[in-house]
């Protein structure tokens, strides 16, 4: 486990979709350089929580967030927050691999050039991050070919590389392995594990075994009174062996969920 220091403080977060309260009164501390897994049954607000961390919730009509999310002394949720630089600091990898259907090189050029990197820096960063995800040898001779030609696992690693190229402090993973075959899933999981220490990872997963393998910290989400909330948080091993919340306990021990 990496050294503990809080990177993100979530206080009193609530997320509403029009009249529906998807998430209520969430408190969570995300440790720097650690892997925090968000687990729990479907529909208890894990993905909403994740998307509010880089304000992707702004894209959803009718979605309102209240409370505080402090990153680097600033509240992510405040209207004055510069979302573009926030999203550069807090990258995201989705369930379905989603490279742009353009060349592999363009997939890096578009975001890197947008954030002010020169052509030379772009090429260097692309190579570095592709090496970091173990994709460089597989694609170095076909960078101008479409990213849509890659396999699902390769596409997902490309998306991770694309996020890494921007040097983010945090990467959010929304069930990154659930659309992949077991082998590719294993490769991506090892890759996420290898980010520990250099990048802070927040991952939503339905795979408890995976959470146990890779996460330093767990946050168990559950529906209480019609809205999702966090019922228990803690170090992964401790929570798997001795959760105190009855729902969290039965979920983690496989009795429910």
């Amino acid at each position: 486990m990496a050294e503990e220091s809080a990177l993100i403080e979530v206080k009193n977060l609530s997320i509403n979709y029009d009249d529906f309260a998807a998430l209520r009164d969430v408190h969570l501390t995300i440790q720097k350089g650690n892997i925090t897994a968000l687990v729990g049954p479907s529909g208890c607000g894990k993905s909403s929580f994740l998307q509010s961390l880089n304000r992707l919730t702004d894209l959803i009509p009718g979605c309102q967030t209240t409370g505080e999310m402090i990153l680097g002394g600033k509240n992510i949720l405040s209207p004055g927050c510069d979302v573009l630089s926030l999203r550069r600091k807090v990258g995201m990898v989705f369930q379905k691999p989603n490279p742009f259907p353009q060349s592999i090189r363009r997939n890096f050029e578009i975001p890197l050039r947008e954030h002010g990197f020169s052509k030379l820096e772009t090429t260097d960063r692309m190579e570095d991050s592709l090496k970091r995800v173990g994709l460089w040898n597989e694609v170095s001779n076909r960078l101008s070919r479409s990213a849509a030609n890659l396999s699902g696992g390769q596409q997902q690693r490309l998306c991770i590389a694309r996020a890494l190229a921007l040097d983010p402090e945090v990467i959010l993973f929304d069930e990154p392995c659930s659309a992949l075959d077991p082998h590719a899933s294993g490769v991506v999981e090892d890759l996420i594990s290898s980010l520990r220490g250099s990048v802070t990872v927040v991952i939503v997963t339905h795979n408890l075994a995976q959470a146990r393998r890779i996460a330093d910290h767990l946050a168990v989400f559950w529906v209480r009174g019609g809205s999702g909330t966090i019922v228990e948080t803690g170090a992964t091993d401790a929570l798997f062996t001795s959760a105190t919340d009855p729902d969290a306990k039965s979920y983690l021990t496989g009795i429910r969920g």
Binding site: N54, L59, L84, K96, F100, P101, P111
Partner: protein, 281 residues
Amino acid sequence: MVRSKRNGDLYFGIICGLAALCGIGPLLWIVYDLVKLGAGRISPGFFTDAVRESGRAGGIAPVLHSTFLIVLCCLGAAIPPGLGVAFYLTENGENRFRKWLRASVDLLATIPSIVFGLFGMAFFCRFLGLGFSILSGGLTLACMILPVLIRTTVAAVEALPDHLRSSATALGLTKTTILLRVLLPGATPGIVIGITIGTARALSETAALIFTSGYATRTPDSLLDSGRSISVHIYDLAMNIPNGAQGASASALVLLIALLLINFLTNFFSELWLKNLHSSK
């Protein structure tokens, strides 16, 4: 029982075959008619010579020239606002203005071209003082093809997977970059199809042009000169010129071939494009 069902299949097959023939028959008839009447007139000179004897002799060079300029004006004027409106409509979130805009685009699509012609004459020729000119005609056609362009572009952007926009947003890209560098390349085949349909409509338009770009058969020197588009030429030869049928058929044959060629090239290029985008899948 079985036998009568089999007979049913047979009859149904015959009906479908006849229906198919009804679809393709008129096209074959038209082509046959045009070739029989007009093919004799077509020679290299037909494309390079000036119109003589109101089209009964000579070629159609100035007509092709005017047509080309009118279509160019039309596309130049229609594509930027067409794409702009379409992108605005596909942005997230519905509001009253978007609803109103959508409804007016749909309404615009139902307006007959003769009405566009009258509008063009009143607005571009008279009010803006552009007179009977290539520019007036092109702008009038631009108004006419705008709804087609908007609808096809909206359809093309909406056909893109949702996650494209969210993944681009998550990378901290501005809306403009997302639009121009991520969504536009993906939607291009659809947009090209829209532009083709628009071009085809512009090429075959008569009513909107007679009142706006006129029917002078000389070669226009500038966009403010009047000029005769090929459809107007065909119309004039067929309706107003005694013994004009041969010239009309030959010109119509040229128009038909041009349209087929545009169609073919568009399909070819958009398939090529799609193949590049998603080769293996």
